[in-house]
């Protein structure tokens, strides 16, 4: 188990800081770009020039134009804003709902666990498209519906994961020791168990981000998400796929930005984990 810490990373707090810095840098950069696009581009994201559709990249349009002659660079940066918001939202929902829910179920186990996990199964089992259309009818388009859908769907996996881990730690020596010391459930969960499950937890959290970003594209397609002319990275990707063969750049540029964002979150996750194995 010799971690050859030659390239980047490796174990230890120093590597963690590097990861953290890289992650914060990438996310910060995209956030900054998505907020500062008015200074970087002379175009508005909705401004059309119908006779200049699907142009290749040029000095006038760094990333070319889309089917309606809108500046792709501007649209992608603008779209990143909403997608970053969704990413943030899904992380918060996961942490606010999934983490405590799973912890309670796992801590008490038995019947409590059965009922609580039963509810998770029910929420998993009811077809999401049914309640998505329900929200569509009741709420109309907009962000409310998106976050409600995310709130219904995107903490279930994390809850189950936390519950499993808590169940498996419940009888572990370090927990028994903490209990013998007279620590209460909350401090045991927070101080003893959480550090031991943070690695896979962060992985799950990071993986939920792209799923939520792409789910938004689907919701927008159904009418629940952003409304035109506003765009998100998800909807831009979907548009890009439709034009994939005529104008591949319209797929490549949004995809590139998604990749940068995901890389950023990955680094962030690695950084938060401490950049390597650590003693329990």
């Amino acid at each position: 188990m010799k971690g050859r810490s030659v390239h980047f990373g490796g174990g230890g707090p120093k590597a963690a800081r590097t990861y953290l810095f890289l992650g914060l840098f990438l996310i910060g950069l995209v956030t900054l770009l998505s907020l500062l696009w008015p200074f970087l581009s002379p175009y508005s994201p909705r401004e059309q020039a119908l006779d200049q559709g699907n142009l290749p990249p040029s000095l006038a349009h760094y990333w070319g134009t889309d089917a309606l002659g809108r500046d792709l660079f501007t649209r992608v940066l603008y779209g990143a804003r909403l997608s970053l918001g969704i990413a943030l939202g899904v992380v918060l929902i996961n942490l606010a709902l999934g983490l405590p829910y799973g912890a309670v179920a796992g801590w008490y186990g038995g019947r409590v666990d059965m009922y609580m996990m039963g509810l998770v199964d029910i929420l998993h089992g009811v077809p999401s498209l049914l309640y998505i259309i329900f929200f569509l009818v009741v709420l109309g388009p907009g962000l409310k519906g998106i976050f409600l859908t995310l709130g219904l769907a995107y903490w279930l996996d994390l809850a189950r994961q936390v519950r499993n881990q808590v169940l498996s730690f419940r009888e572990a020596e370090f927990v028994l020791a903490a209990r013998a010391l007279g620590l209460g459930p909350v401090s045991i969960l927070w101080r003893e168990m959480l550090p031991n499950m943070v690695d896979p937890l962060l992985v799950t959290l990071v993986f939920h981000i792209p799923q939520a970003v792409f789910l938004e594209a689907f919701l927008s397609y159904l009418g629940l998400g952003v409304t035109a002319p506003r765009a998100s990275l998800g909807t831009l990707l979907a548009e890009g796929v439709a034009n994939m063969r005529s104008a591949p750049r319209e797929l490549i540029f949004p995809a590139l930005l998604v990749f940068v964002i995901m890389l950023g979150f990955n680094f962030l996750g690695e950084g938060l984990r401490g950049g390597g194995p650590k003693a329990p």
């Binding site: 996990m117 039963g118 199964d121 089992g125 077809p127 189950r160 896979p200 993986f207």
Partner: protein, 332 residues
């Protein structure tokens, strides 16, 4: 192998769970499962009937007389509670009723035709994801910071960044049209399976790799592994026999919903590759308000999910002796 064989199920006896406890636990979980399924079905049923439209809403609105005839023939005009009762009565007899949309065909028959397709693609994709993801994750955890680790880092990053709705058309374009190596779509021989399986396996592979890597890294540092090493066990033995089972705990948590989801098919993959599977069928049945099919697939999916989750819990109890399924002060 990390999946324990069925004939060993009854030997499951952790410190807190004897065979008797096991049986009563299973019974309780079974009853719970029935309750869960009933609630899923009930919620879905009323939600579905509440949604605007109906199974016979076509491209235009029909004259009222015809709407009436349709409601009469397919008993859609009846009070919703009576329809619900009739549906439950059918379900209890194992009959999911007729499809409204695909006339003359029963939901049972449609499920029976579509599930094997989705399951074939799903099992292959899941096997591929596990087969690639677990060793890759272990490698990544063992060689933290090595070139391999960096490679895995970027590969999984790519796996996360490419949604299926981009990946599937992309693979189709490259391998079927540009290179001409594989058939573009349709259900047929083994060659038809390659692209759907790859598209479907991409994301789970990235996820499993990272999960295994993450939890393995934590497990590798634990004391008991050093103990195992001290006993003179080889590194491979230590990795696969002692570390892996523990590292799989969080993976298994994810595997339940993932397996149920993958086995019942992906709307995108089945749509792009024109596979007659369950996933595309399910989504279309909701757009079409094909009430019978919606309920049938929802019930089928939930039953699968509940069963897999139970299996996962049992697997966890087997893998991790500390894992206790009974609550404090009850059972055991």
């Amino acid at each position: 192998m990390f999946f324990f064989p069925p004939w060993e199920w009854w030997t499951l006896s952790g410190p807190a769970l004897g065979t008797r406890g096991m049986l009563s636990y299973l019974l309780r979980r079974g009853a719970g499962a029935v309750l869960v399924l009933w609630l899923v079905v009930t919620i879905s049923f009323f939600l579905m009937h509440w949604l605007p439209g109906g199974p016979f809403t076509g491209e235009k609105r029909l004259p009222q007389a015809i709407e009436r005839n349709l409601a009469e023939r397919y008993r859609l005009g009846e009070p919703i509670l009576r329809q619900y009762g009739a549906f439950l009565a059918h379900v209890i007899r194992g009959d999911l009723g007729p499809s409204f949309r695909y006339q003359g065909r029963s939901v049972n028959q449609l499920l029976w035709e579509a599930f094997p397709v989705s399951a074939t693609v799903g099992i292959l994709a899941l096997s591929l994801a596990l087969w690639v993801g677990i060793p890759l994750g272990i490698r990544g955890a063992v060689g933290r910071g090595s070139a391999g680790d960096v490679f895995i880092f970027f590969l999984t990053g790519l796996g996360m960044s490419l949604p299926t709705f981009v990946l599937a058309p992309l693979l189709l374009y490259i391998f079927a049209l540009k290179l001409g190596w594989l058939p573009p779509a349709l259900w047929g021989g083994p060659a038809h399976l390659v692209l759907p399986v790859l598209s479907l396996a991409f994301f789970p592979t990235a996820l499993i790799t990272r999960l295994v890597q993450g939890s393995m890294a934590a497990v590798l540092a634990a004391d008991y592994l050093n103990l195992a090493r001290a006993k003179g066990l080889g590194e491979k033995m230590v990795l696969y026999r002692h570390a892996l089972p523990n590292a799989l705990v969080p993976v298994l948590a994810y595997l339940g919903p993932l397996t149920a989801g993958i086995l019942t098919g992906s709307f995108v993959v089945e749509g792009v590759f024109a596979l007659p599977g369950l996933g595309e069928y399910f989504v279309n049945s909701i757009y079409n308000r094909d009430y019978g099919v919606i309920m049938g697939i929802a019930l089928f999916y939930s039953a699968l999910l509940v069963a897999i989750n139970l299996a996962v819990d049992l697997a966890l109890a087997y893998l991790d002796p500390r894992f206790t399924l009974t609550g404090r002060g009850e059972g055991g």
